[in-house]
């Protein structure tokens, strides 16, 4: 049997990353973009959730999900762009 090559398009990578970010408790919304092997994730966080901890949890979730589902090893940088008041 011949080998199989898997190519995951950048648009799919950013979609997977955004979906993974939105699963993290405290994240209200997420957007992603890809620059080379750097995945930039911008999130809005609920007031009261610890921004540093949520950002780190998003970073872990996106890194893990990209490796698991897309076979991509990427550097992930998270920016908390908004704190949403309840």
């Amino acid at each position: 049997m011949g080998g199989v090559t898997l190519h995951v398009a950048d648009a799919a990578v950013t979609s997977v990353a955004a979906a993974a970010a939105r699963q993290v408790p405290g994240v209200v919304a997420a957007r992603t973009d890809l620059a080379a092997e750097l995945v930039r994730v911008r999130i809005a966080v609920r007031l009261g959730d610890n921004c540093r901890d949520v950002a780190e949890a998003v970073q872990r979730a996106v890194t893990h999900t990209l490796a698991e589902l897309a076979g991509r090893t990427a550097l992930v940088e998270v920016t908390v762009a908004e704190v949403v008041l309840r």
Binding site: A44, N50, A55, A81
Partner: protein, 182 residues
């Protein structure tokens, strides 16, 4: 909010905004200064518009709310330059927190205190570590023990920095810029 550049006349724009928001007239310098007058007029127009919008009932379906948040984030992406963000520690590599978002959080915790309202909040992260310095202007209810109340604001901001932002607070400067009568 990032650092606010002073007006061309050297005056802090936040001081002019505070007077406009409080409905106070300009002082002698401000009345004769074209920069202060223009800033004051702009702030008054904005204040009127914000109050009109705040009085309008808002009914937003979940999808629309998500769309709004999306637009906010898109806007934030174009605006957040490296110098406008605070560093967040992470073992997987540094993350960032928009100064404006951090200021929103700290203002909200001050606003939740009895008799205190935040006017402006500036945050600096001067050192190589992630510790921040916070400068707040606040208005207080008339009759409040200001020494006690500002000490409470200081403690609250120290706690909120760590608990809500994840950033140790090194210094908190508070200026009471006005009083209101209940």
């Amino acid at each position: 909010m990032g650092e606010i550049a002073p007006l061309a006349c050297g005056r802090d724009a936040a001081v002019v905004w505070d007077r406009a928001e409080a409905g106070l007239p300009l002082d002698a310098h401000g009345r004769d200064c074209p920069h202060c007058s223009a800033t004051y007029a702009e702030a008054r127009r904005l204040d009127v518009a914000v109050h009109r919008m705040a009085e309008e009932p808002v009914q937003m379906p979940a999808q629309a709310a998500e769309a709004v948040l999306g637009r906010v984030l898109e806007t934030a992406r174009s605006r957040i330059r490296p110098e406008e963000a605070l560093r967040l520690d992470s073992p997987l590599g540094p993350n960032r927190l928009a100064r404006a978002a951090a200021a929103t959080a700290l203002r909200a915790v001050v606003d939740a205190m009895d008799g205190m309202r935040a006017r402006s909040c500036r945050i600096a992260q001067p050192g190589p570590d992630t510790a921040i310095d916070v400068a707040l202007t606040v208005v207080a209810r008339f009759g409040l023990d200001l020494a006690h109340a500002t000490a409470q604001v200081r403690r609250t901001v120290f706690a909120a920095g760590e608990q809500a932002l994840g950033l140790p607070v090194r210094r908190v400067d508070i200026e009471v810029v006005d009083l209101w009568e209940a």
